[in-house]
Symmetry: C2
Subunit: 204 residues, 2 copies
């Protein structure tokens, strides 16, 4: 295992990979600590419990991701009425960049798993800590799509969110063409997602 990382970070990395592969219940602390090359008791020493470890896996990635999203949204505020595509880019591009660095793609799968949980403390945790980001984007969408009723808008946002989460959780499998650069491929993917989301949000 990577000896340059702290025990804490090795656990977080292994947890991310195993949660993505086997789920939160399916991944045991014994598999997890073995993969990380640390002692079994290290999880409870550094995180307190398995549940706290799960929360920390999300916190580590989502703090940065949501900060990036809000920063991108804030940058749009300067030029007064941003377009729908620009707002969507502020939401989508940071997630796509995350999914191309390190274990980022695995984290998107973990996020998709959390999406499928319709109750439990995890959903509450995510809503409590990161709901404000979704609320801010929703407000922006409402300003850009004033002809939609509130229920209709929420419906569409829910559908778009489901589509994006599902798609991004599969990024590990997408092969880019040999003749396009990593950068170009990513930008191309962003444009695909943005156009899809814009069509779903703003169709008559």
């Amino acid at each position: 295992m990577n000896a340059t990382l702290s025990t804490r970070d090795r656990i977080l990395g292994a947890a991310e990979a195993l949660f993505a592969q086997r789920g939160f219940d399916g991944a045991s602390l014994r598999q997890l600590t073995a993969a990380a090359g640390v002692n079994l008791a290290a999880v409870n020493y550094h995180f307190g419990s398995k549940e706290k470890l799960v929360e920390e896996v999300f916190r580590r990635r989502l703090d940065a991701l949501n900060a990036d999203r809000l920063a991108a949204l804030g940058r749009l505020g300067d030029k007064h009425p941003p377009t729908l595509e620009e707002v969507l880019a502020a939401y989508i591009r940071p997630a796509l960049e995350l999914s191309h660095e390190g274990n980022g793609a695995l984290f998107m799968r973990v996020l998709a798993r959390a999406f499928a949980e319709h109750d439990g403390t995890l959903r509450q945790f995510l809503s409590d800590n990161y709901g404000h980001v979704m609320r801010q984007f929703t407000a922006e969408f409402a300003r850009l799509l004033p002809h939609l009723s509130k229920p209709e808008l929420y419906w569409r946002i829910d559908l778009v969110t489901g589509a994006l989460t599902h798609a991004m959780s599969g990024f590990g499998m997408i092969q880019r063409q040999e003749d396009v650069s990593e950068q170009a491929h990513r930008e191309q993917t962003v444009q695909h997602l943005i156009r899809f989301a814009a069509a779903g949000l703003s169709h008559p």
Copy 2:
């Protein structure tokens, strides 16, 4: 518990509800059999193992659902070029009808959980047994959207599938207005989903 149902069906019903709520690993056979009002050993007697029970939960619902979908698609074949909206209706309406009968809405949540699993025997099982339905609809979409490249089409279908699965897994929570009938509300929802999917598939 409902004494008119067989032990087998009581188990399947309780399994569906508990898998939706706690996941496949999270729901134990002891919780499950207690909820069903049957003996613990009944699961292994009637199904062989927990994994086989999971498969049977899917088989029971998906056999009927996919038969309905293919039948609806077949009925379209009569009038020669069906519209995109008609093909989408053939895919969406049977699922929505299922989600309004009995525990159908819970099953859609179970399906969404299975979607989040990126490996494991469950995904293989679903692909083996029900992949042909998705392939048939994909062929129909390809005929209706000939201007899209194959990768582009697959992308869009993947996004639409993610959106629909996510949306339908939340149907338990949607309240219909007092002044619209059950039937009208369902038809309204179908139209929302169809229009969203059509926009996402066919946008320029």
